[in-house]
C-alpha cells in the first residue's frame, strides 16, 4: 500500500473497499492503475462507496476471455480526479451463468454501456430492462458479434416485418422525427420529439445505424495499422483518437516518446480543435439564421485547413501517428509560415466574433436548452457541454498528456448551462488554442521524432484519455501475443447524447434543433412529421418505418 505515496484519499478509499470485501480481497496496484477484483454480489456496495468518494465514472468494458480463462470479465473504470488514479473494478462472470446486477440506477452514465454489452456480448443485467441499443431489432437473438467465437465471415440475413405497423388517427400528442436522413447533415441518428402545444414533453433516441464493429476489425490488424484505423472513427476529431490509441500502446509497452514528437502531436491536436470548433461555429450561426457569420467563419477555416496540410501533408485525417512517435518533421520555413497565417487568423476571428455577438439572431440562444449543474453532475457529460454547466473538467489540465504540462492555459467555465454558454465556451477555447499554438511553435525542442528499439509487451492493460474538441476520448486496450486482444473506444458524443433529453424537455420546438446542435453531434432538422395515437396511459412509442409509408404510394 505504501506505493501510493501522497495519495491519502485513495489510500483511505482502498482500505475502505478491502474492509468491505474481507479476507479474500485481491487488489493490484500498477502505477496509476488500481485493479480490484470484485465478487458479483458486492458490486453494488462497492460502487456506492466509490460514489461517496466522488470517483468519476469513465467507461465500462466487457472482455471475452472464454478462450484462455473460460470467463467473461467486466471492467468498471473510475477516475479519482484529485489524485489522478484510475480505479478499475473487475467482475468475473462464468460462461454458464452470464448474469450480473445492474448499476445503471446508481450511475446514469452506465445505462448505455450496459445496453451495449447486452447487445454485443450477451451478458444479462438483473434489475433492469435492456432494450436494444446497437443491434437492429430484426437481428436474431442469441448471436453476439463481439464474442471471440463469432467469425467475421458469418452472414446474417435480416428480415423486416413491416406489417406490424399501422398508421392511426391524430390526437393531442404529435411526434416529430428528426433524422436519420437529412440533406444537410451527415450522421445517421434519429430523435423523436413528443410535442404537446409546441412544447417538447419527451424525447426518444435511436442510433447506431452505422455501427461498424471497428473494435472487432482491430483484432486481425497489426498494431501499427490500428492507428490509421483509429483515425477513421471520427471525421472531425480523428487525430485525437489516433493519439489516444498510440498513447495507450506506448503506456502498455513502456515506450519513451521523444519530446519533439510530443510537441508535434500537441500542435496538430490544437489545429484539429480549431478546425472542429470553426466548423461547429459556422454551422451554428447558419442554424441561428446568421449566414454572414457562416461564410466568414468558413473563410478563415480554410486557412487552418491549409496549415494542417502544411504540417501533416493532408487537410484532414492527418495519418501521422504511429506507436512511438510521429512520421513527419517540422522545419523553420514551415514554422515561420505557420506563425504568419495564425496571426492573420486571430485578427480576423476577433473582428467576426465582436460583430456576430451583437447580432439579434444570437439572442435566441440565451436561456434555451438548459442543463443545470445538478443534472450535469449525475450524467456522464464531458467537454464543452460539461464546462458550460459549471463542471471544471479538462483532461489537458487534469491528466496532462503530450506536451500540455509545458504550457499554461485557461479552461473557460460558464455556469448558465444554456446554448449561449456552450457557444461561449467554444469561442473562448479557440483563443486559448491559438495562444497555445504560438507557444508550442516557438518552443519546439530539437531531437528525434520516433522512438526506436522497443518491443511489443503481451498481456498488458492500459487506459488513456485525450481531450477531443467535443469532450474526452477514452481508449482501453488489452494487448495480445502479437496483436490487440481487446480495444474499446468511448467517444465524447456517446456520453453527451445521454444528457440531451434533460436539455430538450420543456423546451419550445423552435429551440430543439439548436439544442441538439449545441452538443455538436452534427444532426439537423427534417421536415417529415408523423402523427401517432395518444392512448392516455402514456405515449405510444412506435413509429412507421419508411417502407410502410412508401407502400401506399
Amino acid at each position: 500500500m505504501d506505493m501510493l505515496g501522497s495519495g491519502q484519499i485513495t489510500f483511505k478509499l482502498i482500505n475502505n473497499i478491502s474492509e468491505k470485501i474481507g479476507k479474500n480481497s485481491n487488489i493490484i496496484i500498477n502505477g496509476k492503475n488500481i485493479f480490484i477484483y470484485v465478487n458479483k454480489k458486492m458490486l453494488r456496495d462497492i460502487i456506492s462507496i466509490l460514489i461517496n468518494y466522488n470517483a468519476i465514472p469513465i467507461t465500462m468494458v466487457a472482455y471475452d476471455k472464454s478462450f484462455d480463462l473460460g470467463k467473461f470479465q467486466l471492467y468498471y473504470i473510475f477516475f479519482l480526479n484529485k489524485e489522478k488514479y484510475f480505479i478499475i473494478l473487475i467482475v468475473e462472470i462464468n460462461y454458464n451463468d452470464l448474469k450480473v446486477s445492474s448499476v445503471a440506477d446508481l450511475i446514469k452514465g452506465f445505462d448505455w454501456h450496459e445496453r451495449e454489452i447486452h447487445d454485443l456480448m450477451g451478458i444479462e443485467f438483473e434489475g433492469r430492462v435492456t432494450p436494444r441499443l446497437i443491434l437492429p431489432n430484426e437481428y436474431p437473438h442469441g448471436i453476439y458479434p463481439l464474442r471471440k467465437e463469432f467469425s467475421e465471415n458469418f452472414k446474417i440475413l435480416l428480415q423486416k416485418n413491416i406489417d406490424n405497423y399501422k398508421e392511426t388517427g391524430a390526437e393531442k400528442i404529435m411526434i416529430v422525427p428528426i433524422g436519420p436522413y437529412h440533406p444537410e447533415l451527415l450522421e445517421p441518428i434519429r430523435f423523436e420529439l413528443c410535442l404537446k402545444n409546441d412544447v417538447v414533453v419527451d424525447v426518444y433516441h435511436e442510433g447506431f445505424m452505422a455501427h461498424r464493429g471497428i473494435e472487432k476489425i482491430s483484432e486481425r490488424l497489426n498494431y501499427d495499422k490500428v492507428s490509421f484505423l483509429a483515425e477513421r472513427i471520427c471525421g472531425i476529431c480523428g487525430f485525437c483518437h489516433s493519439v489516444c490509441y498510440c498513447q495507450a500502446v506506448e503506456d502498455a509497452c513502456m515506450i519513451e516518446v521523444p519530446e519533439r514528437a510530443r510537441f508535434i502531436r500537441s500542435i496538430l491536436l490544437e489545429v484539429e480543435r480549431l478546425e472542429s470548433h470553426f466548423l461547429w461555429l459556422a454551422d451554428f450561426f447558419h442554424l441561428c439564421g446568421y449566414d454572414k457569420g457562416f461564410l466568414e467563419i468558413f473563410k478563415i477555416r480554410e486557412k487552418i485547413m491549409i496549415l494542417a496540410e502544411l504540417l501533416s501533408g493532408s487537410r484532414k485525417t492527418y495519418g501521422l501517428n504511429l506507436p512511438g512517435g510521429v512520421r513527419k518533421d517540422l522545419n523553420p520555413d514551415k514554422v515561420k509560415k505557420f506563425l504568419e497565417i495564425i496571426n492573420e487568423v486571430e485578427e480576423e476571428y476577433k473582428k467576426i466574433i465582436v460583430e456576430s455577438l451583437a447580432r439579434p439572431e444570437i439572442d435566441l440562444l440565451k436561456g434555451s436548452g438548459i442543463l443545470p449543474y445538478s443534472e450535469a453532475n449525475s450524467y456522464p457529460v464531458v467537454g464543452p457541454v460539461a464546462r458550460a454547466s459549471g463542471i471544471n473538467r479538462d483532461v489537458r489540465k487534469d491528466d496532462p498528456y503530450a506536451a500540455y504540462q509545458n504550457v499554461s492555459f485557461k479552461v473557460p467555465i460558464y455556469t448558465e448551462g444554456d446554448n449561449m454558454a456552450r457557444m461561449m465556451v467554444r469561442i473562448e477555447e479557440i483563443y486559448e488554442s491559438i495562444n497555445m499554438l504560438k507557444y508550442f511553435l516557438d518552443n519546439v525542442p530539437q531531437g528525434p521524432i520516433m522512438a526506436e528499439n522497443w518491443e511489443w509487451v503481451p498481456n498488458k492493460i492500459s487506459i488513456k484519455r485525450v481531450e477531443a474538441p467535443r469532450g474526452e476520448n477514452v481508449h482501453f486496450i488489452s494487448t495480445g501475443i502479437t496483436k490487440l486482444d481487446r480495444w474499446k473506444v468511448r467517444a465524447p458524443t456517446y456520453a453527451n447524447i445521454q444528457a440531451l433529453p434533460v436539455m430538450l424537455k420543456g423546451e419550445n420546438i423552435k429551440n430543439a434543433l439548436l439544442t441538439i446542435m449545441s452538443i455538436d453531434p452534427c444532426i439537423a432538422c427534417t421536415e417529415r412529421v408523423t402523427i401517432l395515437n395518444f392512448t392516455g396511459n402514456g405515449f405510444k412509442v412506435s413509429t412507421i418505418p419508411f417502407d410502410a409509408l412508401t407502400r401506399r404510394g
Partner: protein
C-alpha cells in the same frame, strides 16, 4: 485547384526499380495493395479507391521505387483506370518446379550478396529447402529419410 508542396497525393511505383519484394503489401493499412499469384507471373495490384494516401509504402520501400506525388483528382468513367498493375516474371524452383519468387528479386539479391555465397541455393523454394535440410540432418544422424514429396 492547387495544393501545397507538402500534400500527400497518389504514390507512384517505378516499374523498372520495383523488384517485387512485397513489403508495401505487408505494410499497407488500408489493403490498397494486393498480390495476385498466377501460374507463371506475380501481379502487384494497386487500387486507388482503397488508398488512404498515408505514404507508408513510400517510407518503407527498400529499393526506393515508390515516390509520392501531389495528384489527387482521379474521377473517371472507366473503372479499370483506378487499378495499376505491375507484372513480374517468376522463377521456378529447381527441385519441385513450383513458382515462388519474382525473377528480379533473385537478381537483386545476387547483386547484394558477397561473391563467396552459395548461389545455387537461391532458386530453391522454402519447402524444398526444409526438405533438403531435414535430409542432411537425417543422413548425419544415420536415420533413414523418407521422401516427403
Amino acid at each position: 485547384m492547387f495544393v501545397t508542396e507538402e500534400f500527400r497525393g497518389r504514390p507512384l511505383v517505378d516499374p523498372e526499380k520495383c523488384v517485387g519484394c512485397g513489403s508495401c503489401i505487408l505494410v499497407c493499412p488500408a489493403g490498397a495493395r494486393r498480390l495476385i499469384q498466377e501460374e507463371d507471373r506475380y501481379i502487384l495490384r494497386y487500387f486507388i479507391g482503397q488508398c488512404i494516401f498515408c505514404w507508408r509504402c513510400v517510407e518503407i520501400c527498400p529499393e526506393k521505387a515508390i515516390s509520392g506525388t501531389t495528384e489527387f483528382f482521379f474521377a473517371t468513367d472507366n473503372w479499370e483506370d483506378l487499378f495499376i498493375d505491375i507484372k513480374h516474371k517468376t522463377v521456378k524452383c529447381s527441385y519441385c518446379g513450383k513458382t515462388f519468387v519474382p525473377q528480379k528479386l533473385i537478381i537483386n539479391t545476387k547483386n547484394k550478396l558477397p561473391s563467396e555465397f552459395d548461389f545455387d541455393r537461391l532458386d530453391i523454394c522454402p519447402d524444398c529447402k526444409k526438405n533438403i535440410g531435414a535430409l542432411k540432418i537425417s543422413i548425419s544422424r544415420g536415420i533413414a529419410y523418407e521422401d516427403r514429396k
